[in-house]
């Protein structure tokens, strides 16, 4: 796979798209346009948050993940379920039923991402104690938020916590320590969200992901549910603490990190509001920010099955019940173990109109001029999310002023008026049919 190509897990099924404009107005990075009656995703802008999948009434937006049978390519198969996955099943006594059932559906072993989340929590506590990093530190566990920062908040990149996500860390622990002797081993993340698929196929902060496949929670749900029903006595028990499991819901990471001055924000549009305030230093007495693209945290991910609020309450109950201390942190002391990202993270300036500021300024003057001539209704009928976005598309050469139905209507009215005037000007002589025709024909 070409790692340099920017991969997206959020895609569009053109046949299902009806060209309505629900997705464009909800996209946090204005990455969608409707052109020729179909939605088009502007790849450089898309952050794979899945907001369009949530809003599309025709189910034309899809999240691409790996099929269940991808595991067959490997001799030794390890499942790493997300903490949010524990909230997907009702009426089970505990997560041990999920872990045991994973062994029934084809996996050879299971490692809980919740355990890796404990380690990340401990490492984050250490970072918070250090003065080396600008506060507030922003969690990097939600890949959609990291990409949002890259495209929209480049000045905040230095605030992002540059350590492995619990998913990546879990895969490393499995491959480097637990099963380092196994040949042809495959590690598969059971995922609530499409952004994790992207994070694996074109990783941020690292060359290559250690995860071999990302399986959507909804794709494994049914086989797993029937396997759970058949389990009489679980063969696997959950080793993670409640705080690790809590990462599956919003506030869970914040609780586990335990920074005294921390805030949690969920829902991508709310995240944007908070990041804007941090950028203008309006919020400056906070040490840690847990920011999640999905409402409710990872349980709100669009590749889940269970209702977000039920899943949230299930996970929270697990956290309450499970007061085990962190036991996975010792791994931090192992030699050769490094949690830090190996790669710099760069801004992706999608907003930039031109490389040359003088050219950009001319374009922007034109943009503002066009914008002021548009109706300002942000109706979306032109296919752009806002009037200003249309003005931007026009100066970039992707759209035309007559794409605005109000301007088009105006132009039609003008033409109609001209036609009416022309009609009045018709020479009266010409209105009488010529008798010549008959003469000529006969």
């Amino acid at each position: 796979m070409d790692k340099n190509r920017y991969y997206h897990s959020v895609t569009l099924d053109k046949d299902l798209c009806r060209g309505c404009t629900n997705c464009i107005s909800n996209c946090p990075t204005e990455a969608i346009r409707v052109r020729d009656g179909k939605a088009v995703i502007i790849t450089e802008r898309c952050i794979d948050c899945g907001e369009c999948i949530r809003t599309c009434p025709s189910h034309a937006k899809k999240a691409v993940s790996d099929p269940l049978d991808i595991i067959e390519k490997y001799d030794y198969k390890v499942a790493i379920p997300a903490p949010s996955f524990y909230g997907q099943f009702r009426d089970i006594p505990g997560p041990e039923y999920i872990l045991s059932a994973l062994l029934e559906v084809g996996f050879d072993d299971v490692y809980e991402v919740a355990r890796a989340a404990e380690i990340v929590s401990i490492a984050t506590r250490d970072l918070l104690k250090s003065d080396k990093y600008p506060k507030p530190l922003i969690s990097s566990s939600c890949p959609a938020v990291v990409r949002l920062i890259q495209v929209k908040f480049p000045a905040l990149i230095e605030h992002v916590i540059k350590i492995q996500s619990p998913m990546e860390l879990a895969a490393r622990i499995v491959k480097k320590f637990i099963h380092k002797d196994k040949k042809n081993i495959g590690v598969f993340f059971i995922s609530p969200c499409p952004a994790k698929v992207t994070a694996v196929r074109s990783p941020i902060g690292d060359h290559e992901s250690w995860v071999d496949g990302v399986i959507a929670a909804k794709d494994i749900y049914l086989p797993l549910r029937s396997a759970i029903k058949k389990i009489e006595k679980p063969v696997r028990y959950s080793n993670s603490s409640g705080l690790g499991v809590g990462w599956g819901v919003s506030d869970g990471e914040g609780e586990a990190v335990g920074a005294p001055r921390s805030i949690t924000v969920d829902g991508i549009h709310q995240v944007i509001k908070v990041l804007e305030q941090i950028e203008s230093e309006n919020i400056d007495d906070i040490d840690f920010i847990e920011a999640m693209a999905c409402p409710g945290g990872c349980v709100g991910g669009i590749m889940n099955v269970e209702n977000t609020f039920i899943a949230r309450s299930s996970v929270k109950n697990l956290v309450k019940k499970n007061t085990n201390p962190f036991i996975s942190g010792d791994i931090l002391k192992r030699p050769g173990f490094d949690l830090n990202w190996t790669h710099e993270i760069y801004s992706k300036p999608i907003m930039k109109l031109d490389e040359d500021i003088r050219v950009a300024m001319k374009m922007m003057e034109k943009l503002e001029e066009i914008n002021s001539s548009l109706p300002g209704l942000d109706c979306g009928s032109c296919g752009a999310p806002t009037c200003r976005a249309l003005a931007e598309d026009i100066v970039r050469g992707y759209a035309d002023e007559s794409d605005c139905i109000f301007i088009l209507k105006d132009e039609i009215r003008k033409v109609a008026r001209q036609m009416a005037q022309l009609e009045k000007k018709m020479p009266s002589a010409g209105l009488v049919p010529k008798n010549d025709d008959k003469i000529k024909k006969s």
Binding site: A155, E276, S347, I357, A360
Partner: protein
């Protein structure tokens, strides 16, 4: 190019509209993130000041390839002693404003720190004009 805004007084919910739209414009112009941040912070502080102390006013922004210049004009009570106002920790903010987490006396010093030029002209009771300039283009 020019941007103009009018801010009503004592309404904290509108303070910030000029700086956040300035941010969008500067990013579209491809200005380096660090400089955008400086400009946004300076203007945001000045907007807050104008809304809290000046009873609102107008913001005129001029962007050239070399610099962004913001001129904030209000007709509030004015600043009798500008040198004193520039001192960190000095504030005339009311208790109510302080309760809201503002009025720590860091506004003007913060603007000075983040901008390349700051000029305040005030005739108490008549008019206060704050001019802020942030150079673009360097540190690229």
């Amino acid at each position: 190019m020019n941007l103009n805004y009018s801010l009503p007084g004592n309404d904290m919910s509108v303070a910030g509209i000029a700086s956040s739209s300035l941010k969008k414009n500067l990013m579209q112009l491809g200005v380096a993130p660090a400089i955008v941040k400086k400009a946004v912070i300076s203007l945001y502080e000045a907007e807050i000041n104008m809304v809290i102390h000046g009873g609102g006013g107008i913001v005129d922004i001029e962007i050239t390839p070399e610099a962004v210049t913001a001129v904030l004009t209000d007709h509030g009570p004015g600043i009798p002693d500008i040198t004193l106002a520039m001192q960190e920790g000095y504030s005339t903010a009311s208790d109510l404003i302080r309760e809201m987490g503002f009025g720590a006396g860091m506004g003007l010093p913060n603007i000075k720190k983040n901008s390349d030029y700051l000029d305040i002209k005030s005739i108490p009771g008549v008019e206060t004009i704050v001019t802020i300039k942030v150079k673009l283009g360097q540190d690229k």
